[in-house]
């Protein structure tokens, strides 16, 4: 039984893994003799990558980027879920506020960065404010939706048991809204990553995005490649981490769905 499971696992990894391995090997070999300045050999990029990111510049560029990302995202989560719960609990208010939220969501998140540059200049506060503001709207929308669409049977049951408003909110509405809120959080997290990089491209100085774009502008092509590679790895890793966090915190929900 265990052996068979193990075998299935190995087979799945082999089927999913052969193509990426071949692609990387092909890139490595095809670029090995490249003298095109824009496509340096992968080996050269990798050597420079080790020099740049394991772990020399990490504290200068990577850590501030991640600090801004998570600070901005945390502010957005608190504001988004808090305001969303308030608005979602009152159908009258949400009718009037939703068109405004809809409008802000329709603006490309990155296009909001110039507003914050005008207001706050180029330092970290501008970056955090941009991230928090742009990220808030998907969370807000998801929370309103989740709070509003609570199962009627559950609400009736809660009122039979004479739960107070606060108890209904805390014990019934919010847990029920969690799967939808997590959907919003996932979208929001992607936006937070994009806005983090964009705010660094647009605002000069430190941060991973700034490092990469400055390398491009000063024709340090290998450095630019290492920056882009690291950003790609980061983008994928962050989305993977988010999936895992979601799986763990919504474990009860997936269990319920399996049973149903």
């Amino acid at each position: 039984m265990i052996a068979r499971r193990l075998w299935h696992w190995i087979l799945a990894i082999l089927i999913a893994g052969w193509l990426p391995v071949i692609l990387i090997v092909w890139w490595w070999n095809a670029s090995a003799t490249s003298d095109n300045p824009f496509f340096p050999p992968l080996e050269v990029i990798w050597e420079q990558f080790k020099l740049n990111w394991i772990f020399a510049n990490v504290s200068v560029h990577l850590v501030p980027s991640m600090q801004n990302l998570f600070t901005g995202f945390a502010i957005a989560v608190v504001l988004g879920i808090g305001l969303g719960t308030l608005i979602g609990s009152s159908p009258g208010a949400s009718r009037y506020i939703e068109p405004i939220i809809d409008f802000f969501r329709s603006i490309p998140a990155v296009a909001l960065v110039p507003i914050f540059i005008l207001l706050l200049g180029f330092d970290s506060s501008m970056r955090i404010a941009s991230i928090a503001f742009a990220t808030m709207f998907p969370i807000l929308i998801a929370t309103i939706e989740g709070i509003r669409t609570t199962n009627v049977v559950l609400l009736d049951t809660a009122s039979v048991f004479r739960l107070s408003r606060a108890q209904v909110l805390w014990r019934v509405r919010l847990p029920n809204a969690m799967p939808i809120i997590f959907g919003g959080l996932q979208v929001a997290f992607q936006i937070a990553f994009i806005v983090t990089i964009a705010s660094e491209y647009l605002g000069s100085g430190f941060g991973l995005g700034a490092f990469t774009l400055i390398a491009t502008d000063s024709f340090m092509i290998i450095d630019a490649w290492t920056g882009v590679l690291l950003l790609c790895m980061l983008g994928y890793t962050l989305s993977l981490v988010f999936d895992i966090v979601e799986r763990i915190s919504l474990g009860w929900y997936y269990g319920q769905k399996k049973l149903a």
């Binding site: 692609l23 009718r95 405004i100 409008f103 490309p108 540059i117 992607q190 774009l213 491009t216 994928y236």
Partner: protein, 252 residues
């Protein structure tokens, strides 16, 4: 509330209230000043921009980047998706690679794209294609794999060839997924076209916005962002309406 007031749509009332609040915030309080435009200043600036040919040219450039990128994405990803979806092995082999490429936002590639392609509209188009092609292809492939197995068995019994199978079983099954992917991609194309102008200098409304910000013209910066919001709302309304017309039996 009087009956006459109640007939005004909620969106209109909230828009007016929002504009008034915006005007007040911009006139008094800590935000008032040159770096914050009030509602009236932004609207006046937008009115002025709408009469300028450069503004419409920028709009046209953004639209072109989005539309050409979208068309290329569809033309590449639908055949590719069908090809991948035809066999279980190719689907499972490529799913991981496509999933990885799908979550990488095109904005991270801008530095390399500037080097390789240069800050032009072609770069904007390339980024739009990158943004869409992987998710559309894998979605198409999923739809193709999702075709009714009984239908496929029946077709094999009748010895219908692979083209007929694609035409009568695979494509109709994939059409729904392709439609969903296309709807998402339309919005994404516009956003990526704007962003590649804003941070990559590809031209269009994005570059126009970057210029107003770097010259410190707050009124015009707010005006352009207001305009982007209006286009965004208009596009999503159009998509909802279009979807209702095409899939008219759902979502009543």
């Amino acid at each position: 509330m009087p009956a006459a007031l109640r007939r005004i749509p909620a969106g209109m009332i909230s828009a007016i209230v929002a504009l008034i609040v915006w005007q007040i915030i911009g006139s008094v309080g800590p935000l008032a000043g040159d770096s914050f435009a009030t509602a009236s200043e932004a609207i006046a600036a937008l009115w002025m921009l709408l009469s300028k040919p450069e503004f419409w040219l920028a709009f046209w450039e953004t639209f072109q980047m989005a539309a050409i990128g979208f068309a290329i994405s569809v033309a590449v990803s639908v055949p590719l998706g069908i090809l991948i979806g035809l066999s279980r092995f190719s689907y499972r082999s490529s799913k991981f690679v496509f999933d990885v490429l799908k979550v990488i936002p095109p904005i991270v590639l801008i530095p390399i794209a500037i080097l390789v392609i240069g800050p032009t509209m072609a770069m904007g188009v390339a980024l739009v294609v990158f943004a869409n092609v992987f998710s559309m292809a894998i979605q198409t492939a999923y739809g193709v794999r999702d075709a009714d197995p009984v239908l496929l068995e029946t077709m094999r019994c009748y010895r219908m060839n692979i083209w007929q199978q694609i035409q009568y079983a695979r494509l109709p099954s994939a059409a729904v997924q392709i439609g969903i992917a296309m709807r998402l991609a339309l919005g994404a194309s516009l956003v990526v076209a704007i962003v590649s102008g804003l941070v990559g200098g590809a031209g269009g409304l994005g570059s126009f916005l970057a210029l107003t910000q770097s010259s410190g013209n707050a009124d015009q910066t707010y005006a352009v962002i207001l305009f982007l919001g209006i286009i965004g709302v208009a596009l999503s309304r159009m998509l909802v309406r279009g979807q209702r017309r095409i899939i008219f039996w759902s979502g009543r």
